[in-house]
Amino acid sequence: MIEAGRDHPGTRALRSEVCVIGSGAGGAVAAAVLAEGGRDVVLLEQGGHYTAADFNQREDSMIPLLFEDAGMRATEDGSIVILQGRGIGGSTTHNLCYCFRTPEPILRRWEQEHGVRDLASFEESFERVEAGLHVQQIQEEELNALNVAIRRGAEHLGYHGLVARHNRVGCVRSGFCLLGCAYDVKKSMRVTYIPRANNAGARILADCRVDRIEVHPGGHRLVHATVLDRAGRPHGELTVEAAVVVCSAGAIMSPLLLAASGLGGASGQLGRNLHLHPSIIAPAVFQEPLHAYYGIPQAYYIDEFIDLERDPRSGIILMPISGPPFLTATNLPGFGRKHFEHLRHLSHMGGLLALLHDQSSGEVEAGRGGRPRIRYRLEPDDRRRLIEGLKHCVEVLWAAGAERVLVPYHDEPLVLRPQDGVSEIDRVEARGGELTLNSTHPQSTCRMGEDRSRSVVNSYGELHDTPAVFVADMSVFPTSLGAPPQITTASLGDRTARHVLDRWPELRG
């Protein structure tokens, strides 16, 4: 059973052996593995608990429920919108199911540049979480019209691409993955590891915002949380006493929680080294109706422009993108009638996004009221790569049959037809044209490594400066990942949890 904190006002105190904070890909897996390993686990989640019956495929209902700040989180300068999940299952409830193992060259880089040990255990964790999430190859007949068109475009240009592996079984191809799966066929944490944790005896509490972790020298850890009501207002307090804490609140909130607790700051790296995998979206209009808001949204991808063996530090992945009216509208230029002239073609629309394996970095710190202040500067080389990726998107879309591609520069939106070529993009770039970027993969703010002066946690996620407090989420990636992060994050949850079990006699204190 998952307990909704909103139904439990007042003050409560719980005791457990392990307290896990956050129920996304890292926390859910850690909680399940620890509970199945015989540990008494309490899992706290700030967001609510929703089931398939709640997922009505409507943007107005689902966006405020499933996204932090109702999808309005962004960098301080507003240049990058950051979509992050909330609620039981975290971002796995709304993600689009790409399942990539951590690329080998990235693992080697983590080992060589950051001293991360025991790479073999990653491989074992990949196997386990892929089984746990029912990862399988998408079948040909499951590609929707947009994905088929994009593949056609890539093949026409000789670009390498692949049909993806996903964590979905018996998909009905409705296409509303981003708004939560109403059929429970997406094998998110909510329907895989969370029930496993529950069945193994973990107590799972939604609507509990963790405010700080108190460390008692040589003894227990005390997790202080505020219990939220239905409107997100405080209406109770909760403490969880535990021998071990696993923090899996994500790359934005984990460093803030640790900083608020006075933990993890010894290296000066806490909250720094933020990577975002920033992306640019190129929407396009096709002659034939695609109805790309239906069907599996991202079943195919183009990896022609990322070769991590050759260059493990940079690259671009191209992915199809589509959505229902509001989400599409936000990615189109202008307002009023000019904006509608694009949006009216929604049923003929589909796009490609260019996702950057970024070297640029930023930082997150607590702003007013303890809310995250996110700074990120896209370095000129990364900007150049991203724009090259944008041009590749335009060319692929044309080759896929698009009549026109929109490049939504704020003050001079471009409508590019095949006969136009992509040089117009260079012209607008040269005069400093501005585009809104998106990110769904913030990472690296509590980075992992063996050098205590350069990293926040060790090779197994334990804080260098505080024993028995672990971090297991995207914040521990030592570098930008260069691939969608679901499997890597889940594997870190698995790997960290097994490490805790192995060391339990020592950690229990």
Binding site: A70, S174, G232, Y293, F326, F335, F340, H410
Partner: protein
Amino acid sequence: MNRRTFLRLGTFGPALLALEGLAFGPPPARAGDRPEPEMLDAGLREILGAVTERMVDTGEPGAPSVSDTGAIERIEQLLAGLDREVVGSVKLLLRVVDLWPAVMELRFRRFRSLSDAEKDESLEGWLTSRIALRRQIFFGLRNLAQYGYWTDGSTWPLVGYPGPMIGSRV
């Protein structure tokens, strides 16, 4: 919508609003309005309505109006789920946008009193401003307006969207 945008508005919003009291007196009271809503008062609802109407104007005959779609109520519901400081900034922002044409564009009338063409011109000024903060404010407001309007089922036929599949096609 960019939350930081709203928070950063605090850097120049109050200065502009200080002029409001001097030049225009308090915002006009509207007798007979419905009881004060939870999130926005009548004046702020009026500004939000005026902004939303221009942001989502389709020019299509028979297109649902902003009030037909309940867009403002939907936006208020969204705001109700956000933290108080963000909502406070949204309110400040709406007042600044309303006052901007009067003070900064020397039109001597508030945004909500302008003609449609003048409103579009004023919004265009926010969109194409050289000041990044003004552009961010524009997109924040635009996204709110789009959320209010395009998530209503009555607008979907305009863009050929058949709607959710639940209960119908699967």
